[in-house]
Symmetry: C2
Amino acid sequence: MNEFDIIARYFAPLSGKGAFGLTDDAAVIPPRPGFDLVVTTDAIMEGVDFFAFDPPGTVAKKALAVNLSDLAAKGAGPKYYLLNLFLPPSVAAPWLEAFAGGLAEAQGRYGITLLGGDTSATDGPLAVSITAFGFVPQGRMIRRSGAKAGDAVFVTGEIGMSGGGLAIFRREKHALSEADRNALTARYRVPEPPVDFGTLLCGRASASVDVSDGLIADLGHLAKASGVRIELDGERLPVPDCLKAWWGKDAILRAATAGDDYQIAFTADPGTQADIMAGAASAGVRATRIGTVMTGEGVRLLVDGAEVSVPRPGYRHF
Amino acid sequence: MNEFDIIARYFAPLSGKGAFGLTDDAAVIPPRPGFDLVVTTDAIMEGVDFFAFDPPGTVAKKALAVNLSDLAAKGAGPKYYLLNLFLPPSVAAPWLEAFAGGLAEAQGRYGITLLGGDTSATDGPLAVSITAFGFVPQGRMIRRSGAKAGDAVFVTGEIGMSGGGLAIFRREKHALSEADRNALTARYRVPEPPVDFGTLLCGRASASVDVSDGLIADLGHLAKASGVRIELDGERLPVPDCLKAWWGKDAILRAATAGDDYQIAFTADPGTQADIMAGAASAGVRATRIGTVMTGEGVRLLVDGAEVSVPRPGYRHF
């Protein structure tokens, strides 16, 4: 199969409005009056972000999810994506078919379509780079920089699950039930960003960031951009019970620095808490208040009222 | 240097409006009333599209040029770009500094700014993926599909130069002057797409494509999308004299199938030819009438009135 056959067979069926069936040099995004276009891009790579033995469909879903997570954290509703593939010679038709199947499933779930892309042969590792596009009411993108002293700090979903999944794949010893083991590895393979909840945060959250490198590292970016300090109440962090049983006294710190969660950490006026919880419930998303914004700088993790030392706040690519 | 240091030191200074200094999760493109956003993405890879010994600045310029070429062919004026980098461990500060310098030069020349991106470490070859954004009056993007029988076929600039440059790097024997040799290798390293001319084609060209795989291959895409046949007058092709002297009777076919030209091939009503030539002159671009659109399908290359067999119309990635 050459490049044109691959595009026509596997990817053209995923294309939507503005993509011209992937048969032109470029795609078109018409202006949406009153809305800004929000753009983000993130790549995942075999051996770093997924394993060579992962099912191609989960690789596709993860590549999309890590980008939709950024859009959600900014309050944007997703709409389009571009796909840049770097394919080693070992990749053949069955892999591509399953990969495209994963994209199709995610497209249906999130209401997005393929706008275009590029396919390159490589003698390096397989890599999938996605650029995702969403819309937000004009001037309303939620920045990292709006947190104020006195705001409450929240996080969606649970944290540490993906880190637990990775630890299982790395053969760390555990006594997890099969159900817990499957839940953790499934989350590592396919993150579940709170896409519908993101748009509800517009006008409610004062600042927001997606949790990708690690909760403490990403809240550190938010604190720096906002010029504030954040205190996290360790006991309140939504760490799954199975991780607490497995990792014991290290569970909170490990979960808060593991990364790959693809949840949203955000700040808001404490007076809006009831409203936010109602919005989360309506979107089927768990939201937990985990801390407070203060004057100062950095992120402090408190457990039983004492500060916990954080030697490594999150994942670093290099 | 970690990922954040690299971004802050080399890439944040290249960022413009909507990029928030590359310190947020996403970037913003405000709507431009009356204009469509045109999006294209293309990657270049060491060992395929450039050599490991190429200066980092020319790698940066080539990565941008291959994308700006697509925008120009669609009639769009460039505005923003995203940068996805895959860096092997051998890449250190001096490489990044020179690479960013090349981007800065191209930004100044084309009036574009960096909107965001992503940096990954790889144990594979160095790869640079760019996504470029431009604006075109709403509904006016020039498609591949508008050519009609009777239209004239044009191409900008010269073709085969980049192919000649590649042949020199591959140590094909030649007796070129130093000036010709340098011109050819420089063009292989840094394509010169007719960016300013692209916007003049809106409303003038009936169909358009960028010449990246090879003139005959890319006009083949245009002919297929338009449902027409194209006849090229081989003697009219703008092949540099030095290539004619070097490649002899093969020069026309080689130049028309070599690829990497990053010129624009387009069709237009022959009545607009004077207007198009005036527009090209005002943009400092050479435009040459090279053929005619007919009913039928495919591309025929005629030399001295006889059809030339084209075993391989252009480059294929795999």
